[in-house]
Amino acid sequence: MSGHHISTDKTLLGVAGALLILTIATVGVHYLHLPNPWSIIVAMIVAIMKGSLVAVFFMNLYWDTKFNSMLLLAAFLFFGLLVGLTLLDTLFRPEVIPSF
């Protein structure tokens, strides 16, 4: 079983360093005030990168059984279903306005 991977200091500190840099970067990009859709897109891409780093290395998914990664992805898939199908309604509601 591969559940007993022992992370080296190098990996742990490296990942923490990368997270530090990404955090500073995302705050920095924030002060650039990118035009509207892009600021959120960049911020979310950075957040996903950071989250993945934590999940893959701190949470050992890289060395772990693939089933656990699958569980994590399934959680996001079902979250996506909740959001996606709800948006099918909230984004497409007709504007009904009485004429008098």
Binding site: A16, V27, S39, F58, F76, L82, V83, T86
Partner: protein, 218 residues
């Protein structure tokens, strides 16, 4: 995987219904991951509400997030990342049987979590001072949008639920710290540290998303 030999040593923490410590560890880890799935979906309800309202009132989110302090949010992000690192170090220490380091790393984690909560406390009280309360108690007049209260409801709910998780995590850290000083953990047995670690990292990941969603939009 362990073999069939009758000599397999029994850790004193092994429960009767498991065949060996290995199976017990695997089961605990898998159970923890399944539990984390439920945590993600629990936060998911709030994130979904956030997305729906953000797409309905994008201008509100830009306006309202000006009231949030990006600097302190960023500092808190770094604090949590640091605590994730120390939890990972604690697990590594256990795996290498460095019993003193387990306690030290857990202690630092606990301290960082406390710092996070203190900063959160000052952020909250500052807003209360301005009259930015959740929901119907909202009295702040600085934001020109009829639904400003909804934004701050979301803010308080999401960071509040996250804060509750941090607090629970701190309780778990204290428990681990007590057990580690009693010498319960070492290379054969460190399941509780690893499980708490997984939980703590998830709390960290959620904050990693909360931070840009609330602090980085204006």
């Amino acid at each position: 995987m362990a073999n069939h030999s009758t000599t397999s040593s029994h850790s004193r923490f092994q429960q009767h219904h498991f065949v060996d410590a290995e199976q017990q560890f695997d089961a605990a880890k898998m159970g923890m991951w399944v539990f984390l799935v439920t945590e993600i979906l629990m936060f998911g309800g709030l994130f979904a509400a956030y997305i729906v309202y953000r797409l309905w009132y994008p201008e509100l989110f830009v306006l309202a997030s000006e009231e949030l302090n990006t600097l302190w949010g960023g500092v808190n992000t770094l604090v949590l990342i640091g605590s994730s690192l120390t939890v990972a170090m604690a697990i590594k220490s256990a795996q290498l049987n460095q019993k003193r380091n387990i306690a030290i790393n857990l202690g630092i984690t606990l301290a960082l979590a406390a710092i996070f909560m203190v900063i959160k406390y000052f952020e909250y009280t500052h807003k209360f001072h301005l009259g930015i309360f959740p929901g119907e108690f909202y009295t702040f007049e600085g934001i020109d949008h009829p639904k400003a209260n909804v934004f701050f409801s979301l803010y308080y709910l999401m960071t509040g639920l996250h804060g509750i998780h941090v607090t629970i995590g701190m309780g778990l850290m204290i428990w681990l710290l007590v057990r580690s000083t009693k010498g319960h953990f070492g290379e054969e047995y460190y399941t509780p540290i690893e499980m708490t670690g997984l939980y703590w990292h998830l709390v960290d990941i959620i904050w990693i998303f909360l931070f840009p969603l609330f602090y980085l939009i204006d």
